[in-house]
Symmetry: C2
Subunit: 149 residues, 2 copies
């Protein structure tokens, strides 16, 4: 028995659901594109963060990328295995490792920049340039608020 009240179509406009569906599609698009080059989004996040802020400890990388400390270990292992970053002991604090991007890591990052740009374009294909900016603005406001709400 369908109801004829306003909440009959509960699901269709539920923001959390729309967010989830859009993010799933975006993650899959980006993930597939990166996987075709043997990378994952965390790899890109770490490389991009190293390019922006320079060498850092794993704890710092975790804060900046929002990849959990515990999960970052495997990511750094994979990146070192590919020669994209180097892990060395911090002489000033022997609890820490210093992660440094190699030259090959820099080249890899610029390669992945291209992959990402294409993927983002696929993700946003349904929106005008104005709407893309508007969406970015709204999402930025959302995550900003969540981080110090």
């Amino acid at each position: 028995m369908p109801e004829n009240q306003p909440e009959a179509a509960r699901l269709r406009t539920l923001p959390s659901r729309l967010l989830s569906m859009a993010a799933t599609h975006a993650d899959r698009t980006v993930g597939d594109a990166l996987a075709a080059r043997g990378a994952r989004k965390w790899h890109y996040a770490v490389l991009a963060t190293l390019a922006e802020f320079g060498p850092a400890s794993q704890a710092e990388l975790s804060e900046r990328t929002h990849v959990y400390r515990s999960d970052l270990v495997a990511v750094i292992n994979e990146l070192t295995g590919q020669g994209l970053v180097e892990r060395s002991a911090d002489p000033g604090d022997r609890r820490r490792n210093v992660i440094t991007m190699t030259d090959e890591g820099g080249r890899r990052l610029r390669e992945l920049d291209g992959v990402l740009a294409e993927a983002e374009d696929v993700v946003l294909a349904g929106l005008s340039p104005t709407d893309r900016e508007e969406l970015t603005r709204l999402l930025t406001a959302l995550v900003r608020h969540h981080r110090h709400g």
Copy 2:
């Protein structure tokens, strides 16, 4: 060595990343709120769909909720276990089950409506009413576009 080029801050405005972070937070907020009542978002999706379209086969529910047919089995098992829906054989097509919402399922749905409303409000707390509508519009356009090329 931080770069001073425009792509230095690659991550901060990457739409797929913003989408992912916002969706993760939203999923967690909604998921926690539902979990406090012993429910998950798929349970809500199934109940809401049954309320809107009436009794349906699992294949129909899968299409409407976008829960995979294989995953839907467990969801229906859980809902029947709680007496919220009933699973019976379709007399007209013996491959199918007919899933029907019980009266208790209807009460449960209205209970969860309240839970969802609160959770959505938390999720969108950083946005004005106008921005909330705008976000909903943009996300709707995105998922709409994804669903038909």
